[in-house]
Symmetry: C2
């Protein structure tokens, strides 16, 4: 596995690898877990060269968020990436990505506004801008994103469509622990009790899905009410949002009639904010 | 010369032309004149394949501006492009470029704010967004822009730097009529009297440059005052702005000490808004 720290070197290195071959790209913020590695494995199935980036992007963190304490461990990450079959690891500095600062931002309206966009103003501008940069540096044919960040996938898909990026976005399923907890680099922050109570996220979502499919829940408001009530049984849970919207347009709906929707939650346990979601109905059901 | 109307067909057509060869790109809004053709000739010297786009971009026109009456003549443009040696003419519809509308915009702060950015709010967001789209569709190695739109060049150069587009921007000199009038597709709007009075733009800029270089003018305020006074001698001239700023950062300066600056004007003659500028000092002097 080749490790590269500058955009210029990466471009140079990838140039001969493009000819009649496909480049798969897995952008990450590092502190890799099985979720990231599942993206790499999918990319390996579909592309001759797999590039992973590890970059904790300051532009997508708000003031008071966890940019400084976000977990980082390059040595461990490099070992995991190598094992999983990454061919090129791109590990740029903040200076390499932003130089004296960026005057240019990419904004995706509407889909970036509800959910985490409402809780974290500017977050998706930061995401769209850094992904545009990375796409221009790496020039991938296919890029792999986990559906744990389903809104991020919706924002990136819309950006790619609107700006005509020559990239196919491949959304990949959430990877969970055996007990249902969605994998996240932030799970390391959780105390034992917090981790136990955090299981209510996936559990309440699964329950809501069951009840929806059996007709016990029907309206968006009922779904949200149900999930909210279940999460509130956990004394350490502080709800940021519980939402049910269409996917990928992220617009409100009244009654579920089999269309593709997302039920999404963001919940704080102590200082740690976790998100989880389920996509229900539509093309995949 | 190949004429292509869709992004998909263009990508397909250009694919084999990329391998070990360079693609030069000349984006235009059509109604071609010698200014555009000078960009093509420069591109032909430096690249094996020259792509020109003709697209009157609605996103960069404000309400009440001349989007609807902007001159269009594909047949004439195609003949001129062919003669000048364009290999591929990309002529997309508004629907092809924007589909059901774009939620995504590219914004370049600071350099897009003074001059035409102040007179035409949102103009440079429209420019940056459409150029990002076109770069992603065409995938050029080099892109050619005329310095008549010097602020546009500054905005695009900054966007390319910030978003790491793998494109070299080549700014090209303003082409003028023998009497000094800067070529513009909008010159066709001018009555004979308006056209005659419009010569004051290039003339006052040249005079200011002379006086600056001979020490008769020294401060930005003096330069602006001089040019403004000269333009005001024309009864049909309605000044939008007269500015003197550093280039390409477009920041105010106090005294000219040989640094690269732009003296830029926008003046209305009847319903027709003309712009002109001179770059003075710095790297090219």
């Amino acid at each position: 596995m080749k490790i590269v720290e500058t955009a210029a070197e990466l471009r140079q290195y990838l140039k001969p690898l493009r000819i009649n071959r496909e480049i798969g790209f897995v952008p990450t913020m590092g502190y890799l877990h099985e979720g990231h590695l599942s993206l790499v494995r999918r990319a390996k199935q579909e592309c001759q060269t797999v590039v992973m980036s590890i970059f904790v992007n300051p532009l997508q963190f708000g003031p008071g968020e966890d940019f400084d304490r976000y977990p980082r461990d390059l040595e461990r990450d490099a070992a995991l990436a190598r094992q999983a079959g990454v061919d090129v690891l791109f590990y740029p500095s903040v200076d390499e990505m932003y130089g004296e600062g960026t005057l240019t931002t990419v904004q995706v309206r509407k889909v970036s506004e509800p959910l985490c966009g409402a809780s974290r103003p500017g977050h998706f501008d930061g995401v769209a801008t850094v992904v545009a940069k990375l796409f221009n540096i790496v020039g991938p044919d296919r890029a792999y994103f986990g559906l744990k960040d389903a809104q991020q996938v919706a924002v990136i898909e819309r950006m790619v469509q609107d700006l005509h990026f020559p990239v196919t976005i491949v959304p990949c399923p959430i990877v969970r622990e055996a007990d249902g907890l969605a994998l996240s680099s932030r799970n390391v922050y959780l105390s034992e009790t917090e981790r136990e109570q955090a299981l209510i996220l996936s559990r309440s979502l699964r329950e809501a899905e069951e009840k929806l499919k059996h007709g016990e829940l029907e309206h968006a408001e009922e779904i949200k009410e149900y999930v909210r009530r279940r999460i509130s049984t956990m004394p350490l849970a502080e709800i940021d949002y519980v939402e049910a919207l269409t996917y990928p347009d992220l617009e409100p709906f009244f009654r579920w009639e089999g269309q593709r929707v997302i039920v999404a939650v963001a919940v704080k346990f102590g200082a740690t904010r976790l998100i989880d979601n389920l996509l229900i109905g539509g093309r995949e059901d």
